[in-house]
Each structure stands twice: as C-alpha cells, then as structure tokens.
Symmetry: C2
Subunit: 279 residues, 2 copies
C-alpha cells in the first residue's frame, strides 16, 4: 500500500468535498471500514448489507451495488493488506436540517495502510482502558455505523498509551456496551454473551460473523444486557472488529483474565473463515 | 445577499474541504448560526461563548477570537439581512477516532439568505409537528451545537408541509425537549418554564437571551423537566432561536393555544434588544 491513501470520490480520483456536504454539516451519512487482503475487500456483502440498512433508516438513496463493488475492487486491486473505508453522505443540501427531496449522495472510497498493531494483541491479549465517556441512549441511531461519532472520539481521546489499543465504553445507565472501535464478548460457562445494541452501539460486521461462526460450531451465543458485574465474573473476554478479527482481553482496569479456550477457538474460526490474523 | 453564498475557509474564499477532515469523517466539530443585520453579526459574544465551551469540552483548539471576529465582519459587511454560519472542525486527521495531538482546526464561515418565513409565524403563531423521532440521552454532548445532528435531520424529514415550520421533539423518556431548530418555552401562571438540557438538546443563544430578558423584566423563569401534560395545560407556548427571535405556538397536534400576553412581551423585548422581527 502506498503511504498516501488512494481516494475515489463519486468514482473519480479526488481529494475534496464541497463545504456544504451534509456529511460535514450534520454528520448526515454512514461509513464502513473494510479489511482488504490480496486485492479483495473482505466480508463485503455484510458491510454492504449494513450500509443498505442505514440508507433505508435515514432515507438516503442507496448507491448501485454493482457500481460500488466495481469501485471497491478498482481501488483495492493493488492492495496486499490494507483498509478500505467507504463513506456515504446524503450529499450537498443547503442550510437547514430538512434533507433535499432529490438528494445526490456523495461516496468516498479510500485506501489506508493496515494499522500496525503488535502481534501480542492477537496472541496474548489486550488491556482495555475503562473510558469515563458514557454512550448515550439513541434508539433511532443505534446499530448503524453513521457519521455521528463524537462519543467515540471523546472516549478515544481519554488515553494515549500505545500499549493500550482499545477502551471499554459503558452507557449512561452503566451497562457495558462495546469498545470505541470494537464489539465485546464475554464467555461464561462455555457460552458467548454480547451486549444488546438496540439502544446504542454499532452492530459490527465481525460481531455478526462471530455469532454466526459460534452458533454453527455449536457454541451457545446470547445477545443480552451486560453489567460490570458480568464482566468481572466472566471466564473470558474478547473484542472484535473487521480489521483485527478477535483480540483476547487480558485486563480491564485492575481486573485480569487468563487466556481462554473459547476465545482461541473463535479466533481460529474467524481466521479460517476470513483469513484474519494470517500474517 | 447574493443568491450564491459567500464562503471563507480558513480565512480564504473557497468551496471545498479535504475529504479526511474529521468534521466529515466523525462529525468532530461545532457550529453556530448567527443572524446578520446591516453588516453586523448579532449576539456575537454569546455565539462565541458557546463555541468556546464546545472547544473546551471536545479539546479542539479554539480559534483566535479577534481573527474570527474580523472574518465574520468581512463576510457580513455587505449583508443587510442574512445568516452567517460558522462551522469549526478538528481538521484533518487520518483514520481512527483518536484525535491528532496537534490538531489544525478547519473553520468555515458562510453567508446565506435569510429564510423566507411567513410574517404570520411571528404575528399569529406557528403549528408544531409532533415528531416521532426521539432525542437520545447524551449528557457528554448535551447543550452543545456540535456536528452530530442526525436526530434533528431525522426529525425534520418527518413532515413536508411548508405551513408547518417546526417540529416538537421529545426525548426517549417522553420529556418535551425542544424543536428541531428552536428552543421551547411554556408560560404558566405568568412564569416561563423551559426544559432542562443537561441530558440532550442545544443550549440556544436566543434561549439564553430570553431567560436574561425575562428575568430583568421581572418575569419568573424556571429551567425544569417538562412532560406532555405540562404542555397540554400551559397558558402559552413559544419557540425561539437566533434567526426567528420568538414565534408564538398556536397549535401542537390537535391542541391549540390562544395568543398570549407574556409571549408578546418577550417577543417585544427580544426585538428591542436585538432588532429581531423588525422588517
């Protein structure tokens, strides 16, 4: 991957968007962060499905699937290992919250270097920073990967220790929800539990993949509310996203976790299904 | 005002921002909507104070006050009656939520035509559309005029009747909070009540002005939680913002309100203090 990202804006190489794009004015849009391996965007269908769902909820005209796939393949063609970010806004639209009736969405595809995480994160696990910033409760936005991401920005700026790659976020009622950029799972009595994300949080593509792989491997998996006490008494904890696959969690604040069999198994299943973690 | 808005980006005439500006990527920024009258941005100090507060809460370096005032005056100089929108982002900053340590904020000042509202809205009042979209509870963002405005976009796209200029938004617990672009006051027993905005909502500059003017005129004013029942039993209701000043509310859903003396008085006080409503 070249150090300068390659960018396609509405299908053409470009660097700029109009100042009155509603993505900038209101965060009126959605995005996807897609792992690229040997020229292939991974889990593309799942990313597209979530983007489509967002378009439907927000009333943003969905771009043509074939066009988007073609652009994604074009921009990813020379990428051995990298990140494709796909950002879709409602396009330009004057002053005022009301969307234009004939919205012309802006789509931005950009290629980025793969983040340089220590191999230890994947092998021996990560420490999670306990964020003080709480996630608000916004059922009308929950689940989607939209462009209103100030809570994640505020959470992520709470610490600056490169040995700690992720922070744990709770909601304003105290529930444990997710990382700033990952979803969270705990293992208890051999079964997976992951937070219900109907009030806040992002329904991660890798979260869906982990749930699918666990169930087809006969590992029970439940979506439910989790409180800090559930985390404290968990046998194993892990986080996941489309770029990292699965990272075991070995520490949250002062609480430590031993390496876990179920986490390892899920890590292998994910790696086998999507070549995550194969370096 | 020219029909094409004039724009200053980082002090220079321009039309575009870099695609990786964090304002676009994450809604990582703030804005102000300022009325301009005879070349003067109105209530400038109050707008600046709110912007400063946002910069402080988000850790965005605040632009130089003198520079911003100079740019605002420059762009407003020829404007008899218009709108100055001031947008400040954290600037460009790579992929990932963590803000760069040496952020270089982007500032966009743009001039817009004054909205063409019917005089009746100010004189005989408006009807409010009861939005189904609920405001989430986000104490870490509440009060600020930040760029995460999807809830307002979703609320505003629920209706499309030009006779209805504003919608009423409740929070997920049912409290009445604000309009999509205005703050709300009710009058009961000769006193003002306006919603507490510590969990969600925008602390409008005109809301602050109304509270200040009411108190100095000897009208009691309380900031408190309001439920739909409080609205149903109110003697008067009005909405306000920096562009419209005060609009009496005559109808919400099926409930109607008679014209009110306190609302008229506040409307006059606001007009006298800031030349709002003088046409």
């Amino acid at each position: 991957v070249d150090s300068s990202p390659q960018v396609l804006i509405d299908g053409r190489p470009g660097q700029v968007v109009h100042w009155n794009d509603r993505g900038l004015q209101y965060g009126d849009g959605l995005f996807e962060t897609v792992a690229v391996r040997c020229g292939q965007p991974l889990l593309w269908a799942a990313h597209l499905a979530r983007l489509w769902q967002g378009c439907s909820r927000f009333g943003i005209p969905a771009p043509d699937a074939q066009l988007l796939a073609d652009e994604a393949r074009t921009i990813s063609a020379e990428v051995r290992r990298g990140v494709l970010k796909l950002l879709l806004t409602r396009g330009s639209g004057g002053r005022g919250y009301r969307p234009p009736e004939d919205a012309h969405p802006t789509r931005i595809l950009s290629i980025h270097s793969f983040p340089t995480y220590s191999d230890d994160f994947r092998k021996t696990g990560v420490s999670l920073y306990p964020c003080r910033t709480r996630l608000g409760l916004n059922p009308s936005l929950a689940g989607l990967k939209h462009l209103n991401r100030l809570e994640q920005v505020l959470g992520r700026r709470e610490w600056n220790d490169p040995r700690i790659p992720e922070g744990l976020m709770r909601d304003i009622d105290g529930r444990v929800v997710e990382g700033t950029m990952t979803n969270l799972f705990i293992v208890r009595d051999g079964c997976l539990n992951t937070p219900d994300l109907s009030r806040c949080g992002v329904l991660g593509v890798m979260r869906g993949e982990v749930l699918r792989l666990a169930r087809s491997a006969g590992v029970g998996a439940t979506v439910t509310d989790l409180m800090p006490a559930d985390l404290a008494t968990a046998d194993e904890v892990f986080v996941c996203n489309s770029l990292i696959g699965v990272w075991p969690v070995r520490k949250i604040g002062r609480h430590t976790y031993a390496p876990g069999l179920i986490t390892n198994r899920l890590q292998s299943l994910v790696a086998g299904a999507t070549v995550y973690g194969v370096t």
